[in-house]
Symmetry: C2
Subunit: 305 residues, 2 copies
Amino acid sequence: MDRLIEKIVEKNNPTVVGLDPNLDFIPESIKRKHFEEDGCTLNAVAKSIFEFNKKIIDAVEDIVPAVKPQMAYYEMFGHHGILAFEKTVKYAQLKGLYVIADGKRNDIGSTMTAYATAFLGKIKISDIAAEVFGTDALTVNGYLGTDCINPLLKTCVEFNKSIFVLVKTSNPSSGELQDRLMGKTSLYEIMGDYCEVWGKETIGEYGYSKVGAVVGATYPEQLTTLRQRLPHTFFLVPGYGAQGGAADSVKGAFDKDGLGAIVNSSRGIMCAYTAQNRPAEDFEECARTEAINMRNALNKAIGRL
Amino acid sequence: MDRLIEKIVEKNNPTVVGLDPNLDFIPESIKRKHFEEDGCTLNAVAKSIFEFNKKIIDAVEDIVPAVKPQMAYYEMFGHHGILAFEKTVKYAQLKGLYVIADGKRNDIGSTMTAYATAFLGKIKISDIAAEVFGTDALTVNGYLGTDCINPLLKTCVEFNKSIFVLVKTSNPSSGELQDRLMGKTSLYEIMGDYCEVWGKETIGEYGYSKVGAVVGATYPEQLTTLRQRLPHTFFLVPGYGAQGGAADSVKGAFDKDGLGAIVNSSRGIMCAYTAQNRPAEDFEECARTEAINMRNALNKAIGRL
């Protein structure tokens, strides 16, 4: 997690830009160009996505430390979409950004080893070790327990990568299961406690382990309680902006040094042109303005400005 | 779920063959051919996987009703692997098999819509609606609650597809969270009860809804209790064979008509040549023998033979 925290400190910005390139978000001019070249195909869509992502990255690369591509929006376009994802990862890393793959992957141990290899490790083909997606971190779901997490830990240590485990998600129904009490402790607190246990051998320079937690901006009280409860667990906080979370509601996610969390905005930055009543073609400029506004709002809320 | 059950009845076999093509499982002769053509590349690996899958499908297509490709083993080879997955799905469906994508996907509503589109629905590009993966069912993780499941239900109804929600998984640590009591009810029972609720508007001819449950073969008692508790929920039962479950341990998953569940075997069938002490090149014949043995063992255990 140190690599991520260093980038946050360097840019003085605890923001990650979500790259969830829904086709509706992409300006017609970009899509038209690729549709004219390749027809209305998944291949043309994938090329449009990559061009859009590249332009968003170019617009914010000097402001934000990280991006978070959401796997669903690439899988939606089949293997063409996955190729656009791979190119996005490489392009973002070329620009010095930390890349969190938002896949919420989960499975039994042997299968989790395959996911760990795909996202965080290297695959051996005969004697050659090849990187597949090469992302810096992966979001995962811990419903299956410790033996689902262990293969990830092994890979994280070997390749200096991290994971974020879903603890308390940002969606309206997240309480249905996550808030239920088991004795006096809620399911999400128990999941959080496991993050501390799973991470305890991998605590880095800033006091945070390689096992982070996903905790939604939409539940500010739980965010604050969890920050106290999980001192070595770095938070990835979705739900800011389009989902309703504001800068004040996420300040509880940060520690006394103003670290401890990174806040995600996807639609809020990608589609900033809609909130700013500007044409879609101005998406880059609008994204940049919104990224600066978000940085300033967060730093003000956590007292770093 | 009716489409799956009809195929089970027609073949008189409640077995699904897991297609988890780990590189180590594939005979050298297949890999060598593709490595000589394309070098030690992810592309060559993906071609090897597809050839292996095709031969397994050819060996068992008249015996089994369904196959279950595990997404991790395709993602492990990047977009080349996803192309091999797409080709495997199409080939299996051409042979009349029902295809369950084992992805254990989960996310907030808007993102789940993207996963539903990718696996079960169609994507609209301008005025064209294109199928992406086109699988018949998808495994999902319900940790996020109802608003994560709703977009899937909508797609299942529109395109006559199904989902299987993780309830009690087959791995050793599954009890860490899933067996914990909330009041008098365990987390996996609560998740199971949600499957009944989520499925209740989609009950088909055989009495089962479009919302199935994943329940591991390695916990026979819980399997039996859940069968009673969830009368409208069809079970996908992993953990048979390589993970330790036997025919007797899964019989509790079936209803009085011998329906209600489909049992998965992946390594047990793909790598049947190892258990039969035969060379890897004989994998097709060994897979066929094991598929027949498994069918007979299951039918004997549930009293249909």
